[in-house]
């Protein structure tokens, strides 16, 4: 039930502006904590700007989608939807410079597989990854708990796919539309694009589903307006109708604006920039990370303390990086 879910309670936002503000705050906090010695005026020469972080995320969202589509065995759509939710939620309160999106992306998908009961083993999973599979396994398993923690353990995701099924059943039952199955391809395409946008954090899954269905209808030159106003909402819902219409319009306009793939050259440049400004504490290739992991594995409390005390010092200052849920 969506209205009582943690999704509705904790992970729905009022506007794109609010989301962008939160992301900017995250970016600023990161720079304030780790870049104290860098001059304010030229800090963005070294660190990523909020805008650049956004481009990075966009790029990795596209990669996430492609990865899921190519995944063997083929995964159900709800796994993809859930991974997108996790990915977006994670980067509302975490900076790209702290956790590399490449790593978080695969962890999100792996966790989504589990949550959505799409059973793949870690071996099966990393078989889909190019490069060092052993290292990928380590990264995924090490990041899994961190991801869940950052999601505040709100793992249940309501995707718009089942609402679409419900709407199609309802349309078949209560409207005069000829062969509603024709709406399916358009709807699916729309939802796929919607996942790339922020609207899954702004609108309820049933609203997204309705927008998708209406979009698909308009594409095949059918009109479902009377179904929505008379049948679906009826007398009791009249007062809410305006709100819904504006929501559907907003969703459609957001989805229409989905950008083209990120420019390759720009992406390469950003990747390089990120490599330079990346927080070494969370970089699996860095010495600090390796030392820390080793200390953790050996349960060597003293060494662990010595290494992490630096971080604690930062965190105990007013600029707290770990953000609890809003």
């Amino acid at each position: 039930m969506f209205p009582t879910s943690t999704q509705a309670k904790h992970w729905m936002y009022s506007s794109e502006e609010e989301l962008n503000e939160l992301r900017e705050k995250t970016n600023l906090k990161h720079i304030q904590v780790y870049g104290r010695n860098v001059n304010d005026s030229n800090k963005y020469e070294y660190y990523l700007t909020p805008e650049e972080e956004k481009i990075m995320l966009k790029h990795y969202e596209l990669r996430l989608r492609d990865f899921c589509k190519r995944f063997q065995p083929p995964m159900p759509r709800c796994v993809i939807g859930t991974s997108f939710h996790y990915f977006k939620r994670f980067y509302i309160h975490n900076s790209v410079m702290n956790y590399h999106p490449k790593e978080v992306m695969v962890t999100c998908i792996y966790l989504a597989c589990k949550v959505e009961e799409f059973n793949v083993t870690i071996q099966q999973f990393v078989a889909n990854i190019k490069g060092d599979r052993e290292k990928a396994t380590d990264i995924i398993l090490n990041n899994e708990l961190l991801l869940m923690e950052q999601l505040n353990f709100h793992l249940c995701i309501h995707n718009p796919f089942r609402p679409v099924e419900g709407l199609l059943i309802d349309i078949k039952t209560r409207s005069t539309l000829n062969d509603p199955e024709r709406l399916r391809p358009g709807t699916e395409q729309f939802l796929e694009r919607a996942l790339l946008t922020d609207c899954i954090l702004l609108y309820s899954p049933s609203q997204l589903a309705l927008a998708a269905v209406l979009h698909a209808a308009s594409k095949i030159h059918e009109n479902l307006d009377s179904y929505v106003t008379d049948t679906l909402f009826g007398e009791e819902g009249r007062a809410k109708l305006m709100e819904l219409i504006s929501a559907v319009k907003a969703i459609r306009s957001i989805v229409k604006m989905v950008d083209n793939p990120v420019d390759k050259n720009q992406q390469k440049m950003l990747d390089k920039k990120l490599d330079r400004c990346r927080n070494p504490e969370y970089n699996p290739d860095s010495e600090i990370y390796k030392k820390r992991l080793q200390a953790m594995l050996e349960d060597d409390d003293d060494l662990y303390q010595a290494i992490t005390s630096n971080v604690d010092e930062f965190n105990s200052s007013a600029l707290n990086m770990s953000i609890t849920s809003p």
Partner: protein, 312 residues
């Protein structure tokens, strides 16, 4: 105990199935016949540790490990003097300290640590608490006496009941014979139809049985104070305070959207016709197509009135 052999004569349970191991205060075992032989005079020394022993201190060995046997023996002896109860102490801590002390003494004696010192300690304690020991002993004696009395009572009641049952049986037998005779008399001298007479007698017998069954059930007392049978209320049953009864409140679904159809409407309004029907296996598992249909419709309608709110 199968592979047990007497340390003196080397007889084992296998050679002599009726072999009985005896043990004395030192904890070393000896078979019954060796005890007879060695302690003919009533006293002698242990063949293993040369401790002087008396014959009537020998007991049948209950535990496989003679050390345990020894410890039990010592415990019995020590506890005869250290017989304080929890009520004799002001706090639980004191009582626990006392128990700890007793255990230390027993352990020391069993494992031959500081025997002289420990024995001195026991003597000292005996002296210090002479009065209390005697009092506790008396108390213990009284309790035992009461228990015995209760057992005696129980026995008497048991006997009385047995007698009663016997009496009843004799009575019943007599009655049966009387009835039989009456029936024969009736058949011999009455002019009525034999079939009818048989029926009336069968009827009477049935009624008598019913009456017997109605007789109140007998109750029996036990020494534990628990009464079984009978109709009187059990005094040991503490009435349980149950509090107000649980009341079921049906769950209200927070819809935040148009009302989704209920179970009947899904069928009557034809929603069900637009989902595939469940397979045989799914039906066996309890999954019916109307459940999936209802869920999809609920998901489609709930949250349609969602308005964007800020949590910042």
């Amino acid at each position: 105990m199968e592979d047990f052999t007497c340390p003196r004569c080397r007889t084992s349970k296998f050679q002599n199935p009726s072999l009985k191991m005896m043990v004395n205060v030192c904890g070393h075992g000896l078979c019954e016949s060796c005890v007879e032989l060695l302690f003919l005079k009533g006293s002698g020394s242990c063949p293993e540790c040369r401790i002087p022993l008396r014959r009537n201190n020998f007991r049948v060995q209950l535990f496989e490990d003679p050390a345990v046997e020894k410890e039990v023996d010592i415990r019995k002896r020590v506890l005869r003097d250290f017989n304080k109860k929890e009520d004799d102490f002001e706090s639980l801590l004191d009582f626990n300290n006392y128990l700890e002390k007793v255990e230390t003494i027993i352990y020391n004696l069993t494992n031959n640590i500081d025997i002289i010192d420990t024995n001195k300690k026991i003597e000292q304690y005996k002296k210090d608490n002479k009065e209390q020991i005697q009092k506790s002993k008396n108390k213990l004696g009284r309790e035992e006496y009461e228990l015995e009395e209760m057992l005696e009572m129980e026995k008497q009641i048991e006997q009385a009941r047995k007698q009663e049952i016997q009496q009843e049986e004799i009575e019943a037998k007599k009655k049966k014979i009387r009835e039989k005779e009456a029936l024969l008399d009736e058949l011999m001298f009455s002019n009525a139809n034999a079939q009818n007479i048989l029926e009336t007698f069968a009827q009477q017998a049935k009624e008598a049985q019913v009456e017997k069954a109605k007789a109140p059930p007998k109750s029996s007392h036990f020494s534990t104070g628990i009464k079984i049978g009978g109709t009187s209320h059990n005094p040991f049953m503490v009435p349980i305070d149950e509090g107000p009864l649980y009341q079921y409140k049906s769950v209200t679904i927070q819809t935040n959207g148009p009302e989704p159809p209920n179970d009947e409407e899904i069928v009557s309004k034809g929603f069900i016709n637009h989902v595939r029907s469940e397979t045989e296996q799914e039906r066996a598992g309890g999954f019916k197509s109307n459940i999936a249909c209802k869920r999809a419709l609920q998901d489609a309608l709930l949250g349609l009135y969602h308005t964007r709110t800020s949590f910042a």
